[in-house]
Point group: none
Chain length 193, copies 4
DNA sequence: AATGAATGAGATTTCATTCAT
DNA sequence: GATGAATGAAATCTCATTCAT
């Protein structure tokens, strides 16, 4: 990732893949947008697939970091859930393209799809741990923590996607209070603040 | 849709599109699976795109019917929400392929994507009306009905998709109680039964 | 040619072939324009090629008739040339489509092209006979009657085509005096009247 | 046009297009004749149409140059007309294929046809200017210079085409004296030499 | 490290023709 | 006599990948 060219290619790839989807994106367009020769991409990445996987790996990692890095030990489970939702919406606003890529290229049977699901499962697992903490602390009384975690992720991301496509310039963070209220209700948080 | 061949093509198309996605699906494979000549598909459908749009239209309509047809006037808002979740999970179990297609091919900027979003918006609007009814009847106290509707759809469908890919033979209806509990909590239903 | 359907097909074919050319014309469009089923065309004509050849045969025959039928025994060679030019321009105005077809589909190496050239050669031969008559009668002093005949046909038809495409509603007969003057000059007619 | 492959493609295209016509010519045949891969043609030319238009442009330009470059200031109008006819016949002999292409693909309503007519009109306009010069110099007494120019072009090219197809190895320049005599007669040149 | 011309497999689409009714 | 659903060969065009420079 150190090379200047690599970074140029990376940025261009995010752009093109999110706009076109994996299949419709062409190496030609990526090369043109990155202002490098097509051969250069193949010098740095073995194939279109590898470039794409690399890109989604980075994106998922970034999501993980962005969302979970704001959680501190002092926060209680409720605060953490609030923060997860806020941070995820902020991430989706900042990295609209990743958001689209991740949700669109996750549901299929090719190697790449499975790889992406693995990363997603990992992320949702972190949410689940927060929920389980809340159940232990008896602030949440939801029964099935796994389903609760997927519900949280699903509602946040689909709502975000819908708004991103309905209005390209929307600031999703403004939706945070409404989504937090719904999510915490869904977890049967003991005191709604 | 009356013709025998048309039905064969339709079924094969659902299969192939859901397995491969729109771009990777080929007319050759659809023709082979339907056991008709490639030209026959083009005799009945103007293009790959048209075939696909027709197919999604039918699917969305079916979803709409399946889910909303079980709602009766006697039901209160809570019962309706419960039923929507149950019916949607049943639909996703029965028509796994449509579920995948609808969620995967909705997020993009091509004409087809916009068309699909329009259909989805229509469906979510129906959910929203039930939520608004509940607010009026003062059984729900959620603030933003639109976001609540999208959350409900998002959590149900992403959770369903995850389980469909994690375990091909899962009966999603078994997840209904857990999802209903979470959803009604999110709507701040007055009495949880 | 007696059948009603045959006539419908014939008319539609002239339309479509002249608008699209032989290759781009489709049996579907001809059938649609004739308001008969595609199979019906094949009931009356063995193939697209046969339909086309039939059509050009008719057209060339019509050209032959239209142009030569006005020539009478009393006319001298000069009057005949004048009449040929006038009649040919009138024909091109009335049957614009044939004019285009004949000139476009004559120059090639397929069986059909050779067939058309044969018909054209036949037509030009008739013009040549008039010129030879004039030479015998010593009103024309041109050396090479064959070249003179092709020149006459070439100048008239290309000029006509150009004007037909430059202005769809042009009445070519208005060009007759100018073209007659040039043609008779080219034949070195003894007295220009 | 510099690249070796481009030249190979160009030559092959002229061959195939003139033998088959635009519609019947296939990229496969052109590629085979040029001994390059089909993709290579598309690397250099955006489409079959673009390749064809490029080719006709070059051809028309060449015709223009070949014919008009021999005209010098010292020549009087009669000499110029003689030279135009001779040069055009020489060009048609040397570039038989262009001759066929230009005349066959000019009469139609598609963008490409209109483009070709535009080029032809430009060429005929040059002939017309020579005729007008002759009228001014009072060596020609023809009334309508435009029609005279089209007649000259039409008679020369159709006569040439006929002879090219009647006898593949004909040297059209041998026809020059006969055609010049006719043409100058048509223009009512004052002294026939 | 970087380039970009060249490739060829494979995709969508068209359409003359056939044939059972 | 007439129909139109069905066919499949063949056409244009795309694009990931390679490789000589």
């Amino acid at each position: 990732m150190a090379s200047v060219k690599t970074r140029l290619i990376f940025r261009a790839a995010v752009d093109v893949f999110s706009e076109r989807g994996f299949e419709k994106a062409t190496m030609d367009e990526i090369a043109a947008k990155a202002r490098v020769a097509k051969g250069t991409i193949y010098y740095h990445f073995k194939s279109k697939e590898e470039l794409f996987v690399f890109l989604v790996e980075q994106g998922t990692e970034l999501l993980h970091e962005n969302v979970l890095s704001h959680l501190t030990e002092e926060m209680d489970a409720q605060e953490k859930i609030r923060e997860i939702i806020r941070a995820q919406l902020a991430f989706f606003t900042a990295y609209r393209d990743f958001c689209i890529i991740i949700l669109r290229e996750t549901w299929g049977d090719e190697a790449r799809h499975r790889e992406f699901r693995r990363m997603l499962v990992h992320y949702v697992h972190s949410i689940r741990q927060v929920i389980e903490q809340g159940i232990e602390e008896q602030v949440f009384s939801v029964e099935n923590a796994e389903i609760a975690a997927w519900s949280l992720f699903g509602s946040t991301s689909i709502t975000a996607l819908h708004h991103l496509f309905a209005d390209k310039t929307v600031d999703l963070v403004a939706l945070a209070p409404a989504m937090q209220e719904i999510a915490l209700g869904g977890l049967h948080a003991k005191e709604i603040t």
